[in-house]
């Protein structure tokens, strides 16, 4: 009886393999869902919704973006990780996913899934942040700012869009690299965090180019540096932290992930389609109009990047948790 069950299950597994293989040949045959774990209208949403109609043309099937928000992306991430690995349910991934996982681990909670539950398809963008201060701030250069922060440890405060999120980490990484002690005031989202700098409620903040460029041009905030290694095409006269001798780098990437057991042929097809779409003029135009730059990493490159980054972030979180007053 037992052996019969075993044989049956082997048979079933085999047939599943065959079915999925035959699926791959003419994949896709039905609409593809892109789960976006972040709120509608955010950076992820824009990029995914720009990608969907272009990918649709190449795949010949509708690509539908569905927002599944909650628990700073964990709810949607979990749904994406546990989806059937058939290439019909993909996840709009971002730096938030591996980070949220590491945050759970740093706080001694078991994360519901890990980054190893996903196979990477590729990235749309990898944006650095600007370090910004109010327009009439006494700091004209990064050196001014760092010197003053060192003179007054723990007195300068910065705003972020949320604890341990995409606009908190760059500031934290920068402060540690520059050797300064600053206070963190979290706000609910990137918009309110920007308001706090413009309205001089805080001394500085970091934010992404798409939200910040117009404020810099309109002289409502002053950018002291790009937290990264390469100057931005859209703001060529703002120096980078690397140039200024501070070893701080952080990039908010956005891309596409699939469940780890997705068959290889389907993954290859998706990677191929994604590369063509992301490097195509139509997509590049939309992203550049929004003030960002396309930066495509293929699946393998993204997986490698995620691994090394996650280790760094894990260490940083461990320190941050230790420093949090209980």
């Amino acid at each position: 009886m037992k052996s019969q069950v075993k044989r049956l299950s082997v048979l079933m597994a085999l047939s599943l393999v065959i079915i999925s293989a035959s699926f791959a040949a003419d994949y896709p045959t039905k609409p593809i869902t892109l789960i976006n774990p972040q709120a509608p209208g955010g950076t992820l949403d824009v990029q995914a919704r720009a990608f969907a109609p272009l990918a649709e043309k190449m795949l010949g099937q509708p690509v539908v973006v569905v927002n599944k928000t909650g628990a700073t992306g964990m709810v949607g991430g979990l749904a994406g990780a546990q989806a059937a690995p058939d290439g019909y349910t993909l996840t709009v991934g971002s730096v938030n996913i591996p980070n949220a996982i590491e945050w759970e681990i740093a706080n001694n909670r078991k994360p519901p899934f890990t980054r190893h539950d996903f196979v990477c398809i590729g990235t749309f963008t990898m944006s650095p942040t600007f370090l910004i201060v109010p327009p009439d701030s006494p700091y004209k250069t990064l050196a001014d700012f760092v010197a003053d922060a060192k003179a007054k440890p723990g007195q300068l405060a910065f705003s972020s869009g949320g604890l341990y999120g995409m606009s908190h980490l760059p500031a934290e990484i920068f402060a540690r690299a520059a050797g300064i002690k600053v206070r963190h005031v979290p706000y609910t989202g990137g918009g309110p965090s920007l308001t706090a700098v413009v309205g001089k409620q805080v001394d500085f903040s970091v934010n992404y180019p798409a939200n910040t460029l117009s404020l810099i041009r309109g002289n409502k905030v002053r950018a002291l540096a790009v937290i990264g290694a390469k100057r931005l095409k859209s703001a060529p006269n703002i120096p980078t932290t690397k140039e200024l001798g501070i070893d701080a780098e952080y990039y908010g990437w956005v891309g596409i992930l699939a469940p780890v057991k997705t068959p290889k042929p389907i993954v290859d097809k998706l990677r191929d389609v994604m590369k063509k779409v992301v490097e195509g003029k139509a997509f590049v135009d939309i992203i550049e109009q929004a003030g960002d730059e396309v930066r495509f990493l293929n699946g393998e490159e993204l997986a490698k990047y995620m691994n090394t980054e996650s280790e760094k972030i894990a260490k940083l979180y461990a320190e941050m948790v230790k420093e949090t007053p209980k």
Binding site: A39, P40, G41, V46, V75, T188, V198, R217, G218, Q289
Partner: protein, 503 residues
């Protein structure tokens, strides 16, 4: 004169056939989204963003803005007809709006809501047009200490919101605050009362709680009552507000406009705040405050005007500075970015055709909305003639589908049913639900702004006194608090005693 010539240019842009058409589509979709509980303006706008890819920037923003302010017109419909708030700004409309519907004055309530929305919306655009740049700079000055001081006043006002006694309202406020603490603490990341349920990490949402406590609670109670309902053919004249109702509405509509316009500038839950502050204000100013909660037209006119005025002035920080203060303006800003128009401090001077085209289209849109909504009043009122045995299952279904559609979460369906039963119990014990829901929405912001202020000042309370705005507001809240106590303990006048005995 500069403004006028710019506005004329704006009308030139907005009055092309294509842009009027887009404005109409936006307003129509906005009304639908507002009427349906569950889908809010946010989801409504996001769903249509891909449809704008082929349009020019002006057309796109005209349509998306139409959805946004159109949703505020529709929000009151289900509040009045079914006691389910269509969106969070219409919670207080349930209190008197639904009572009016039960008395057969549903048509008048809907009419006044639409009329007030139109006046509030239109006057608010005038303010937006003249004052956008300067007010945007004021709005960003409103930081955590100021927000905290304002919400302090809001909470003192909450105490006088309920129709029941003070001692029945305060526990409901405290309970609302308690439910509001569920979820991840935004400032330290500590989980509060989540018991490992991931759906609770972001806190308990407004939609399942409001639909449960209002909608399902209402159904459960109503099934027990043998209601004498208003039936029979509705005459056109009875749909319209009578002379007394019209006269009573004028002042609340204008006060609601002013209040809504100012409160709309603030970040966060401005709509909710504007409608309930307007309600409490009307109740205080009324000669018959004890009749609030039994179907006073002022309780519909004020709040429904205020939330429209607020929705339009909420666009000021976004148009004047490129900083969205709420989720819906944030989505509109993204839509503009996709079209290569970058809202920011230079937006109005660099892209005058987009800005003035939008402003002009908002006048047109508000006109479209009132023309669209007034005939709908007759249609909606007829819904009340549907027998209970059909209407109740339909409402139940709307609540379930509406809740599920937001996050596709089964846990939230559980929350909906839980608060449905709780809403029933509260009703039986004669506790008011509105103060509970409002405390739940505003509580987290109160806590957050208090702690943000102290984090900024490294624990020193002087931060609340250093800011002139915050300081003034705190003094006002103290006076208000003392006044409340004074009113509660002072000896009653002869006529008040007589009134109470008479009851």
């Amino acid at each position: 004169m500069d403004v006028l010539s710019n506005l004329l240019n704006g009308f030139q842009t907005a009055l092309t056939f294509k842009n009027v058409y887009l404005c109409f589509i936006g307003c129509l979709w906005g009304t639908v989204v507002g009427v349906l509980p569950g889908i809010g303006p946010l989801a409504g706008i996001t769903l249509l963003i891909p449809a704008t890819f082929g349009m020019d920037a002006t057309g796109a923003i005209i349509m998306l803005a139409g959805i946004y302010y159109g949703a505020m017109y529709g929000g009151s419909t289900t509040s009045i007809l079914m006691n389910i708030p269509g969106e969070s700004a219409s919670v207080v409309t349930c209190i008197d709006g639904y009572q009016m519907a039960r008395k057969g004055r549903g048509g008048a309530a809907l009419f006044i809501a639409a009329w007030g929305s139109w006046i509030g919306g239109t006057l608010s655009i005038i303010g937006l047009m003249f004052l956008a740049p300067s007010l945007a700079n004021f709005a960003v000055k409103f930081g955590p200490p100021e927000m905290f001081a304002l919400l302090l006043i809001a909470f003192i006002l909450l105490g006088s919101l309920g129709k029941g006694s003070f001692f029945k309202t305060v526990p409901m406020i405290l309970f609302g605050l308690l439910v509001g603490t569920i979820g991840m603490d935004p400032l330290t990341g500590t989980m509060r009362f989540t018991h490992g349920i991931k759906d609770l990490y972001d806190g308990i949402g407004f939609i399942p709680v409001a639909m449960g406590a209002f909608g399902i609670g209402e159904i459960l109670t109503s099934t027990e009552e043998s209601l004498v309902r208003f039936v029979g053919k509705v005459k056109m004249r009875e749909l319209l507000p009578n002379r007394d109702e019209l006269r009573a509405s004028w002042a609340p509509i204008f006060r609601g406009t002013g209040l809504g316009f100012l409160i709309g500038l603030l970040p966060g839950s401005a709509h909710v705040l504007s409608s309930f502050v307007s309600y409490t204000l009307e109740k205080r100013l009324s000669k018959k405050p004890e009749e609030f909660g039994t179907g006073r037209i002022e309780g519909v006119a004020g709040p429904e005007t205020a939330n429209n005025a607020a929705s339009e002035s909420a666009m000021i920080p976004f148009l004047g500075l490129g900083i969205p203060t709420g989720p819906a303006p944030a989505v509109m800003m993204i839509a503009l970015l996709i079209h290569g128009v970058r809202p920011g401090p230079l937006f109005i001077s660099e892209q005058p055709q987009v800005f003035w085209g939008l402003i002009a289209s908002m006048y047109i849109g508000n006109l479209i909305l009132i023309i669209l909504n007034l005939p709908l009043v007759g249609l909606f009122v007829n819904l009340l003639r549907v027998p209970f045995r059909i209407l109740f299952p339909v409402i139940l279904l709307i609540c379930l589908v509406g809740t599920y559609s937001v996050n596709s979460s089964v846990v939230e369906l559980g929350i909906l049913l839980f608060f449905g039963v709780l809403g029933y119990i509260f009703r039986k014990l004669d506790f008011d639900i509105a103060p509970f829901i409002l405390a739940m929405i505003i509580g987290p912001t109160l806590e957050m702004s208090f702690r943000q202020s102290l984090m900024r000042s490294a624990g020193s309370f002087s931060i609340f006194l250093k800011s002139p705005i915050a300081c003034t507001l705190i003094v006002m809240s103290c006076l208000l608090f003392l006044w409340n106590i004074f009113r509660a303990v002072r000896p009653k006048k002869a006529w008040e005693k007589a009134l109470e005995e008479g009851e």
